[in-house]
Symmetry: C2
């Protein structure tokens, strides 16, 4: 063990390693990707990765955390410009769809790797997911809705439909923002 600890080097490749892991996990799923696959993609030998992460599960956990961070940051940024409740929800949905379908491998990992697929760390993964989704609970709380509308069902329906869209999304048939707009439009006019 070293006597003193230094800052990471300039050529530290922890982030590139995490990027490669996120991209592969997002595309093929957790179990379908081996540590050797990731190492090959980042130009590193398999054993070398263990300098940066103590295990494959920890690698997944790190991508989850980064995914939640990116999603949260992106949605918060989109919300900053909006005041009206419906506009705020729409902005959040657009940001959600955009980062999910286009921008971030990390975010896609959250939706394509289910906690129960990795039982050993499912207790660590679930709260990360839930914490992010709570933003939508608050956004829907603020909507002026008819008295008999179940806000919980509304949230589950909206987020479910958006999250599932990664299974059929095709850039040629509409952008992520358009998808979010369409879905919200279907709901909105009945609920006001």
């Amino acid at each position: 063990m070293p006597d003193t600890t230094r800052a990471p080097r300039q050529d530290n490749r922890r982030i590139q390693l995490l990027d490669a892991a996120a991209a592969l996990f997002a595309e093929h799923g957790f179990h379908a990707v081996s540590m050797r696959d990731i190492a090959r993609n980042v130009g590193m030998l398999p054993g070398s990765m263990y300098y940066h992460f103590p295990s494959k599960n920890d690698l997944l956990l790190a991508t989850y955390e980064e995914g939640v961070r990116q999603l949260s940051q992106r949605v918060d940024l989109a919300l900053a410009d909006e005041d009206e409740p419906w506009a705020r929800l729409e902005a959040a949905c657009k940001a959600h769809a955009e980062i999910l379908l286009n921008e971030s491998d990390y975010a896609q990992v959250i939706l394509s790797v289910f906690p129960r697929d990795v039982a050993a760390i499912s207790d660590n993964l679930k709260p990360l997911r839930d914490g992010y989704e709570d933003r939508f609970r608050i956004l829907i709380e603020a909507l002026p809705l008819a008295a008999d509308v179940d806000r919980n069902s509304l949230r589950l329906m909206l987020l479910g439909a958006l999250n599932w869209s990664k299974n059929w999304y095709n850039p040629r048939h509409g952008s992520p923002r358009e998808i979010a707009t369409d879905m919200l439009a279907l709901l909105k006019r009945s609920l006001v």
Copy 2:
């Protein structure tokens, strides 16, 4: 090779084997389940399973086919009693939710194992999924909707929300039929 082929024996365990595979695939995902896990669950040695199925991928393919068969049969049965377009769609959604969340491990496999997780047979899996979902396209086609309603978005939203519900479903907070009713209600009153 035998000179003549006989019918399967009375004690043939192909179905029990398929049942065990479906249950495990549905609960843990395809890659998280080993052939030995399945063998143990059905009380068989690992090698013996290869008498019934030539590979693990074929085992998955068979569960997919059975899942689609069960879903289709269940939905068709529910549709037989209904005439009015909205009632038909609601009956289909209820049946879809019910078999998905409660009744069939086979059906759950279709939603929890993504074709791209098993690249080698993804071309076989996708059309099975699509063929079933086409029923909903037809049901929505028959709805009397305002001219500006995008039927494709409606289908994707409804099915997406229902399919995603397996990620949050909790029997204590409403039955599958109630979930389907709630979601359809959210959409219905705005679209007529």
